[in-house]
């Protein structure tokens, strides 16, 4: 995994004379105090993070948290007051005019909240724009634009105007326009916020599809926690120009760094985010096939449980035995293998809890978590699935 974007100590202050306020900010003056006394707005305060190649990095925060400012710094629509932004190792803040134009033309595409489409141009005219600015020949850019429009599912709409399209379709044009340049990095500034919920869901799924194919590095801005956790490989939560926490969605959900984030993620449907591996436990008791019946009874008795999973010497899951069956088997002289119960459920570590709920409700045994080779990883108690719902 290589680092694509590396942001170091980025600060952005809006106002007449940003540099003068910098020292106050470093002395720890609050955003509000600085605004009241100097009229300067602190957009970003000493922000550092990295985005890996091919990763979808979501920046989440409420309005005014600086998330859009941060995205706009990544293609220098906002010039940082201080700090460095390395893309592929070179600091874009130091780029001159021409280097910056080339960077924007080739390396980074942007999708806007209100689409930002050129209303005087047709759909294909919009998609061709970036190529046109780069000086690509008429024929070539029309070919590329058509192909890109196919990717976003807009074939046949080439010569319509944006005004003739629905909101969702307009944003597809916005996405196609950004993709046509084949940039490594895609900046998406609340791209789906202006869409109604059903269309938004479609667009999210479509973005996941497109991303699975194209593997761009995406920086995605949103105020919607569910959207953030659905799309993001990693998520950064911002507040007042500061990144409060960065992590994979499960991490933020399971261990919010502070009350603010805990509050923020409260509304998240946890069952869609938390996976089997997040709630599974290493069982205290585990019986190997070669151990025999008496060991099994003793394991169950010491741990106060009524059933136990049985694995072979390679830790592959073989089955489950209950205490009643085992005691009966000792009396009847049967072997462990003969009394194995196979009617239990298994799941993989990456399964969402949502899918486990029906199983946990109706089955009487714990759920076994196994890897691709059927190796035993842990168990999920039925009660912990239900506990995750709260």
């Amino acid at each position: 995994m290589t680092v694509k974007i590396q942001v170091e100590n980025l600060t952005k202050i809006f106002g007449r004379n940003p540099k003068t306020v910098l020292t106050r900010l470093k002395n720890g003056d609050s955003k509000d105090a600085i605004f009241k006394e100097t009229g300067h707005t602190v957009g970003l305060n000493n922000v550092s993070f990295e985005v890996n190649t091919g990763e979808t990095f979501v920046i989440m925060g409420l309005s005014g948290s600086g998330k859009s400012t941060l995205a706009r710094c990544l293609n220098l629509l906002n010039t940082p007051t201080e700090g460095k932004i390395h893309v592929d190792g070179s600091n874009i803040v130091e780029y001159n005019k021409n280097e910056l134009r080339e960077f924007r033309q080739k390396k980074v595409g942007m999708v806007f909240q209100h689409f930002g489409l050129f209303t005087h141009r047709t759909v294909i005219g919009n998609v061709e724009y970036g190529l046109e600015v780069r000086g690509v020949s008429t024929q070539e850019r029309s070919e590329i634009a058509k192909k890109t429009l196919d990717t976003v599912g807009l074939e046949g709409w080439e010569y319509r105007y944006p005004r003739e399209l629905s909101g969702g379709m307009r944003q597809r044009v916005g996405l196609a326009r950004a993709l046509a340049n084949d940039p490594d990095i895609l900046l998406m500034d609340e791209p789906f916020s202006a869409l109604d919920p059903l269309i938004r869901r479609d667009m999210q799924l479509e973005l996941l599809d497109i991303q699975a194919k194209l593997k761009k590095t995406i920086v995605f801005i949103t105020h919607d926690v569910n959207e953030a956790f659905k799309l993001g490989d990693r998520v950064a939560v911002m507040k007042d120009g500061v990144i409060e926490q960065i992590g994979v969605p499960e991490e933020i959900l399971a261990q919010p760094a502070n009350d603010y984030i805990a509050d923020f993620v409260q509304d998240v449907d946890k069952t869609k985010i938390l996976q089997a591996k997040n709630i599974m436990v290493k069982p205290n008791a585990l019986v190997s096939l070669k151990d025999g019946l008496k060991v099994a009874v003793k394991e169950m008795q010491t741990n106060g449980i009524s059933s136990v999973f049985v694995v072979d010497s390679e830790r592959k899951l073989q089955g489950l035995v209950t205490i009643d069956d085992t005691i009966a088997a000792i009396k009847e002289g049967k072997t462990l293998k003969e009394i194995l119960i196979k009617e239990y459920e298994t799941t993989s570590a990456g399964t969402c809890i949502q899918e486990l709920i029906p199983i946990a409700t109706y089955k009487k045994y714990p759920i076994a978590v196994v890897d691709e080779e059927n190796k035993f990883m842990g168990i999920i108690m039925r009660v912990s699935v239900l506990a995750a719902l709260i």
Partner: protein, 284 residues
């Protein structure tokens, strides 16, 4: 204590006079050259319009009215033109039209770049705004005097005075149009690596075009409004007829020439507005 004290007295006008005289003395040649070239264009346009058979002109206006508005509108405009001809003002109308046309062309050539320039230089606006206000509110007679001194009697000072009066809406509306392009659209243009020039030509100007067209419409109307006044310094045309009618207290002549100007104004306004509307970008 009620009268304004005589001790407080400013004489600024005299310096303006010095300035104009200084211009005349040292840059007289420049103004002569400008005047000569304006006159050359003006005479040729006028000559062409008068040379044009009357029915072709009527036909062109009819077709324009039909295409831009509707059939009946075209028919109405043609009939109104014939009415002006019937008053005996055909050639005078063409002279007036020539002055208006050339003033509009000069206003467009100066106004659009200046309007764009102001958009990019917010500081200039502080000084531009009162200047533009002054150009429009200063009684036109006042700058007829220096125009007379610099260009002499006749059509050229008329064009000069008309242009000064009709230029402000062109500048204002160009600026308004460019400034009102949605911020996100301009950001998008930048985000895809457009140069300033590309952003201007490919995004800002096309977006501002409807407003700019409205500016041209306004400019044309302002120019037409100056016609009567500019005839005071000897520009032949419909305005001259009005002026003569006033001096002779000739009600009939005054009415006919006045009505002709109104008709001309209506036709030009409807046609140019119709063209402007074509460039409107529907929102939805």
């Amino acid at each position: 204590m009620t009268n304004f004290p005589a001790a407080i007295s400013f004489k600024i006008g005299i310096y303006v006079e010095y300035f104009v005289k200084w211009l005349m003395k040292y840059y007289g040649n420049v103004f002569d050259a400008i005047g000569a070239s304006i006159l050359w264009f003006l005479l040729n346009i006028e000559k062409f319009l008068i040379w044009l058979p009357w029915w072709i002109f009527v036909l062109v206006i009819f077709i324009m009215g039909w295409r831009i508005k509707k059939f009946m509108a075209g028919l109405l405009y043609a009939a109104l033109l014939i009415l002006i001809g019937g008053f005996g003002y055909w050639e005078l109308m063409m002279s007036t039209l020539a002055v208006v046309l050339i003033s509009v062309v000069i206003s467009v050539v100066i106004g659009i770049p200046l309007g764009i320039f102001i958009t990019y230089n917010a500081k200039i606006e502080v000084f531009m705004k009162p200047t533009l206000d002054a150009m429009q509110t200063m009684p036109s007679f006042v700058y007829l005097i220096p125009a007379l001194l610099l260009f002499g009697l006749g059509k050229v000072p008329a064009v000069f005075a008309t242009t000064i009066y009709s230029l402000p809406p062109m500048i204002r509306l160009t600026e308004l149009g460019v400034r009102n392009v949605p911020k996100e659209m301009v950001e998008a243009a930048h985000a895809f690596g457009s140069s300033k020039w590309q952003t201007l030509v490919k995004v800002q100007l096309p977006q501002a075009l409807p407003t700019i067209m409205t500016g041209i419409n306004q400019t044309t109307m302002m120019a037409l409004a100056m016609v009567v006044i500019s005839s005071m310094i000897g520009a032949k045309g419909l305005g001259m007829e009005v002026l003569i009618a006033i001096s002779r207290i000739d009600i009939a002549r005054g009415f006919e020439s006045g009505l002709s100007i109104v008709i001309l104004a209506i036709i030009i306004d409807r046609l140019s507005q119709g063209i402007a509307n074509r460039y409107k970008i529907p929102e939805k």
